[in-house]
C-alpha cells in the first residue's frame, strides 16, 4: 500500500515539475540548473539514514562517503547558485 502512495506522490511531483518551469530567461538558465542541482542533493537525507544506522563496516563507510559527497553537492550547490544570482542582481540594477 505504501508503494501506491509513493507512486501517487511520484506522479504528482513529476507533473508539478513540468508545470513549474514554463519560460526561463536565458540569463537564468545556469542559476536555475545549479539551484535544481542543489535540490537534487536531497539524497543527503538518504545518506544520513544509511551512515547513521547500525550496519556493516562497509555500509558505514559507504554511507559516510555518501554523506560527504551529498553535502558537497548541497552546500556547494546553494552557495554557487547564490553567488551567481548575486552577480546577476548587480548586473540588472546597473
Amino acid at each position: 500500500m505504501e508503494l501506491v502512495y509513493l507512486s501517487f506522490i511520484l506522479i504528482l511531483a513529476i507533473f508539478l515539475g513540468f508545470e513549474l518551469i514554463q519560460k526561463v530567461p536565458a540569463t537564468l538558465h545556469t542559476p536555475l540548473m545549479s539551484g535544481a542541482n542543489a535540490i537534487s542533493g536531497i539524497t543527503l537525507v538518504g545518506a544520513l539514514v544509511g551512515a547513521g544506522s547500525e550496519g556493516t563496516t562497509l555500509t558505514v563507510i559507504l554511507g559516510t562517503a555518501a554523506v560527504a559527497f551529498a553535502t558537497i553537492n548541497v552546500v556547494g550547490g546553494y552557495l554557487v547558485t547564490d553567488r551567481m544570482l548575486a552577480m546577476f542582481k548587480k548586473r540588472v540594477s546597473k
Partner: protein
C-alpha cells in the same frame, strides 16, 4: 510514531519550500529568494532526518558532513565566476555518486522486494551515469579533456552493447541480489555508460548536457527514495527530474537543438557530415525561435518585399525594441533593391519610426555579418539569395547580396518555399544554419513579440 509523523510533516513543508524555490528561481526578480527558500527546505529536511530513530551513531555522519561542508564551501568560494558551469557539473557528479552509494547501502536492508531491488539498481545505474558523465562534462569544460567531440567508428554499436549489458545486469541483479558480482558489474557498466555518452559531445553543447545530467541526478535521488521508502527524496528528486527535463528542453531550443538529439546523444556531430544535408529544409516554430532570440546578443533584421506585403513593419519595430530591452544589439540591413520600388523599405520603416541610424547599407553590414548571433530575414528572398555568390550559372550571379548565411543562425520568415521577383530558387533556405519560420510575416513577428512576455 510521533517522530515519524513529525519528520514526515516536516518533509511536506520541505517539499513546499522546494516547489516554491523552483518556481521563484525561474523569475529574475525572485530567483535569489527562491534559492534561499529551497536551501531552507533542505536544512529542514536534513535536521529532522537526524531525529530519525534508526540513526544511532552520529559520529560518521558528523565526519561526512564536516568534510562535505568544508569542501563545498571552499569550492563555492574559490571558484572563478567564469568557471561556474564546470563547477556545477562537478557538484552534480557528487550528487550522482551519493545516490549510487545510498542505493548500495540500501542493499543492506532486510527483506528486499523485487520492486525495491529494481529501484536500488536504478539508483545505482542513474547515479553512476550521472557521476562519470558529469566528470567528463567537467573535464571538457575546464579543458582538462579536449572539448572536441570524441568519435570513433562503430560508436553507436558499442554504446548499444553497453546499454544491453546494463539491462541484462539489472535483471540478474534483481533476481540474485545476494551475488555481489552483479552489483559491481552494475557500477562499472553505469560508469562506462556515463563516459561513453558524454565523450562524443562537443564542448559547446556541454551546458545542455549538464542540465540533462542534473535532471538525471534528480531521478537518481528519486530512485534512491523508493529504495529506502523516503517521501522527500521521491518528491524532490522527481521535481528536479521533471523540471530539469523542461529546462534542458528550453536550453536546447535556445541553442537551436532538439531534445531528442540530446537524449539519444550523437548530437553536435562534427560538421564534416553536414554538407550532405543540403536539400533538407529545417523549419522552426515561432515559439522555438523565441528561445534563440532571447539568448541572442546581436541581431540583424533584413526586410524585403514580404514585409511590405504583410505590413509587418510595426511589429518588426516592436520586436526590435523588445530585443533591445533584453540587452541585444539590433540593426537593420537594407539591400538597395529590396521591395518593389526604390526606397520601399525606407518608407515602411520610417512609418514604423525606426531610427535612421539603425538602417545600415549592404556594404556596411556584410563585413561584420559573422558577428551576429541571428539574422532575421523578413519576407526577403532575392536580396539574400546566396546563389548570387555561389552559383556561376545563376542569372543573378555576381549581384551583391546581404550575406545573412554568415550569421550564426538565420531565420527566414516567409509563407512558403516560393521564389521571389526574380523567380529563382534560393540555396540559403537549405543551409545548415537556416531555419524557415513559415507563415505570414506579420503573424510570425507578432507571435515572436508575444512570446517576449514577462
Amino acid at each position: 510514531m510521533q517522530t515519524v509523523i513529525l519528520i514526515n510533516l516536516s518533509y511536506t513543508l520541505a517539499a513546499v519550500l522546494f516547489i516554491l524555490g523552483l518556481k521563484f528561481l525561474s523569475h529574475p526578480a525572485t530567483a535569489r529568494r527562491g534559492n534561499i527558500l529551497s536551501a531552507l527546505g533542505m536544512l529542514l529536511a536534513v535536521v529532522v532526518t537526524l531525529l530519525d530513530q534508526s540513526i544511532i551513531d552520529y559520529r560518521w555522519i558528523l565526519l561526512g558532513i564536516v568534510i562535505g561542508t568544508v569542501i563545498g564551501t571552499l569550492a563555492a568560494r574559490l571558484v572563478a565566476m567564469t568557471a561556474m558551469p564546470e563547477m556545477v557539473a562537478l557538484l552534480n557528479g557528487f550528487g550522482g555518486i551519493s545516490s549510487l552509494l545510498v542505493g548500495w547501502v540500501a542493499l543492506a536492508q532486510p527483506d528486499l522486494s523485487n520492486f525495491i531491488l529494481l529501484t536500488i539498481f536504478l539508483s545505482i545505474l542513474i547515479g553512476g551515469v550521472t557521476f562519470t558523465g558529469s566528470l567528463v562534462a567537467w573535464g571538457k569544460l575546464s579543458e582538462r579533456i579536449s572539448g572536441r567531440p570524441f568519435l570513433f567508428h562503430g560508436q553507436r554499436q558499442v554504446n548499444a552493447l553497453i546499454l544491453l549489458a546494463n539491462f541484462m545486469c539489472g535483471v540478474m541483479f534483481v533476481l540474485y541480489p545476494a551475488q555481489p558480482l552483479w552489483l559491481y558489474l552494475a557500477i562499472v557498466l553505469s560508469a562506462t555508460l556515463g563516459v561513453m555518452t558524454v565523450m562524443p559531445i562537443g564542448g559547446a553543447d556541454m551546458p545542455v548536457v549538464i542540465s540533462l545530467l542534473n535532471s538525471y541526478s534528480g531521478l537518481a535521488a528519486c530512485a534512491a527514495g523508493f529504495a529506502i521508502s523516503n517521501n522527500i527524496l521521491i518528491v524532490a528528486g522527481s521535481l528536479v527530474g521533471a523540471s530539469g527535463m523542461i529546462l534542458t528542453n528550453i536550453m536546447c531550443k535556445a541553442m537551436n537543438r532538439s531534445l531528442g538529439n540530446v537524449l539519444f546523444s550523437g548530437f553536435g556531430a562534427p560538421s564534416g557530415d553536414d554538407d550532405k544535408l543540403e536539400g533538407e529544409v529545417k523549419s522552426l516554430s515561432a515559439e522555438d525561435a523565441y528561445y534563440i532570440l532571447e539568448a541572442a546578443q546581436s541581431v540583424v533584421i533584413v526586410p524585403g518585399y514580404g514585409m511590405a506585403v504583410a505590413q509587418a513593419q510595426h511589429g518588426v519595430k516592436e520586436l526590435q525594441e523588445l530585443l533591445e530591452e533584453n540587452g541585444c544589439e539590433v540593426v537593420y540591413a537594407i539591400h538597395p533593391v529590396a521591395g518593389r520600388m526604390p526606397g520601399h523599405m525606407n518608407v515602411l520603416l520610417a512609418e514604423a519610426d525606426v531610427p535612421y541610424d539603425l538602417l545600415l547599407e549592404m556594404d556596411d553590414i556584410n563585413p561584420r555579418m559573422e558577428t551576429f548571433d541571428v539574422a532575421i530575414v523578413i519576407g526577403a528572398n532575392d536580396v539574400v539569395n546566396s546563389a548570387a555568390r555561389e552559383n556561376m550559372n545563376s542569372p543573378i550571379y555576381g549581384m551583391p547580396i546581404i550575406n545573412v548565411d554568415y550569421a550564426r543562425t538565420v531565420f527566414v520568415l516567409k509563407r512558403s518555399m516560393a521564389s521571389g521577383f526574380a523567380g529563382l530558387d534560393n540555396p540559403l533556405f537549405y543551409k545548415e544554419n537556416t531555419r524557415m519560420i513559415f507563415g505570414d510575416a506579420k503573424e510570425t513577428v507578432n507571435k515572436l513579440v508575444r512570446e517576449f512576455s514577462a
